[in-house]
Amino acid sequence: MNISKIANLKFFFTNTKNLSRFLGLFTFILFFFGIYWGLYVAPSDYLQGESYRIMYLHVPAAWLSLQVYMFMAITGFVSLVWKVKIMEIISIQCAPIGAYFTLIALVTGMVWGKPTWGTYWVWDARLTSELILLFLYIGVIALYSAFSDKRQAVKITSLLAIVGLVNIPIIHYSVEWWNTLHQGPSVTKFEQPSMHISMLLPLLYMFLVFNVYFIAVLIKRVQLGIYNREKRSKWMEDYLSD
């Protein structure tokens, strides 16, 4: 099986139906175990008590929000350079998912911030750059929806996403430099991770679950995108009438 066959819209549409169903169900089961692990099995924090447990939603969502943007920009780049149709659809369908992840990260962060910092929102570096990431996503979605010619729209929005990807580190470090108050990253310190392994493992597991969820939703959305683009083509009508 070669790449060009998978990249074919018809092949993708007709062969991934069961896959997305399976992944959706799989996510549900994995998510259940992850929540159990994070909320009951993992020990409570000696400083923050039980409120830290929202981390098991907050941190994977925040990671995914950046990862999805990167994925969107890279697939957009591939679609611009090699003109792969499926990549165009994948790239643009990433945008709403990433925006939702960003929103989840922001809302759970606010919920965590109230008992810990005493306020829902502070203008702190990482919160602010997450908010700006949300604005970047909204820009991409708004630009896409403003075009009436969707193929043209995808080309332009991929370009915006690529420029945004170049800009994200600049924005991030400038905002970080502007003000920092956030709890420092406690996972990626290699010498001495400041998080105990019994808390870290559920977190990494939840990251995996979020990834599976992302793939499941992405496949579903890509199917929808293919349907919207190809609904007048012959094979789609044949396939749906069967």
């Binding site: 970047l136 403003a146 193929r151 043209q152 370009l159 420029v163 924005i171 400038s174 502007w178």
Partner: protein, 220 residues
């Protein structure tokens, strides 16, 4: 060819003098509305006037650059540019510079007057001036990039600001911090250097990026 294009640009800016003076009037209007809104307290005004100046510059550049290519797109000039023998990158670079000269330079010339109005010390007003001279070309070129992205859309009033404002943030952060440092007596050179680095990064790339976007917009 190049000389003719520059001549045409100059002529079109000078024929419509409104396009030079109205941004300036707009700038003054917004600046003078702020004291009416927050009260004439001098200490407060002194603290926030750099931010006000920058916000007003953002508005002005957005207004002047959001429909930058519209007329040329509708008249078919862009196709002519794309097929001409002169390098399009050079033309676009000149257009960015000219847009900056006619929209931001008048504002920069009027910063001393604003400093008199708001009683800003000389040193602070020089730093505001420097940040504007270095930062506003970046703002203009990003705004023009935003307008080139929205060429195929018939009505795009608020879209360009929504797309481009997140990209403005690093420039705004460093300029505001330079001004704040100088008003509290701290060293401010580092922020100016970073702004200059951003300018050196953005300005040479922008014509190529614009050319690519224009070819994408034309080939639909």
């Amino acid at each position: 060819m190049l000389r003719k294009i520059i001549y045409k640009e100059f002529k079109s800016y000078f024929r419509n003098l409104n396009s030079i003076f109205l941004p300036l009037i707009f700038f003054f209007l917004i600046i003078s509305i702020f004291p009416l809104l927050i009260g004439p307290d001098k200490n407060l005004l002194n603290k926030i006037i750099p931010g006000i100046v920058w916000i007003t510059v953002i508005f002005t550049t957005l207004l002047s650059s959001s429909n930058f290519f519209k007329d040329e797109y509708n008249n078919g000039f862009i196709e002519t540019y794309l097929t001409s023998e002169t390098s399009l990158e050079l033309i676009l670079f000149l257009k960015i510079i000219l847009c900056w000269i006619f929209t931001c330079l008048p504002i920069i010339f009027f910063i001393p007057i604003v400093s008199i109005f708001f009683d800003i010390p000389l040193k602070n007003s020089f730093v505001i001036l420097f940040t504007l001279i270095i930062g506003s070309p970046i703002l203009v070129s990003i705004g023009i990039f935003g307008s080139s992205l929205t060429l195929g859309i018939p009505k795009n009033n608020v879209l360009v600001p929504v797309i481009t404002l997140p990209f403005y943030i690093p420039i705004l952060i460093f300029s505001a911090s330079a001004i704040e440092s100088v008003s509290s007596g701290l060293p401010y050179e580092m922020q100016l250097y970073i702004l200059t680095a951003l300018l050196c990064f953005v300005l040479p790339i922008m014509p190529y990026l614009l050319k690519y976007t224009l070819t994408l917009s034309i080939n639909n």
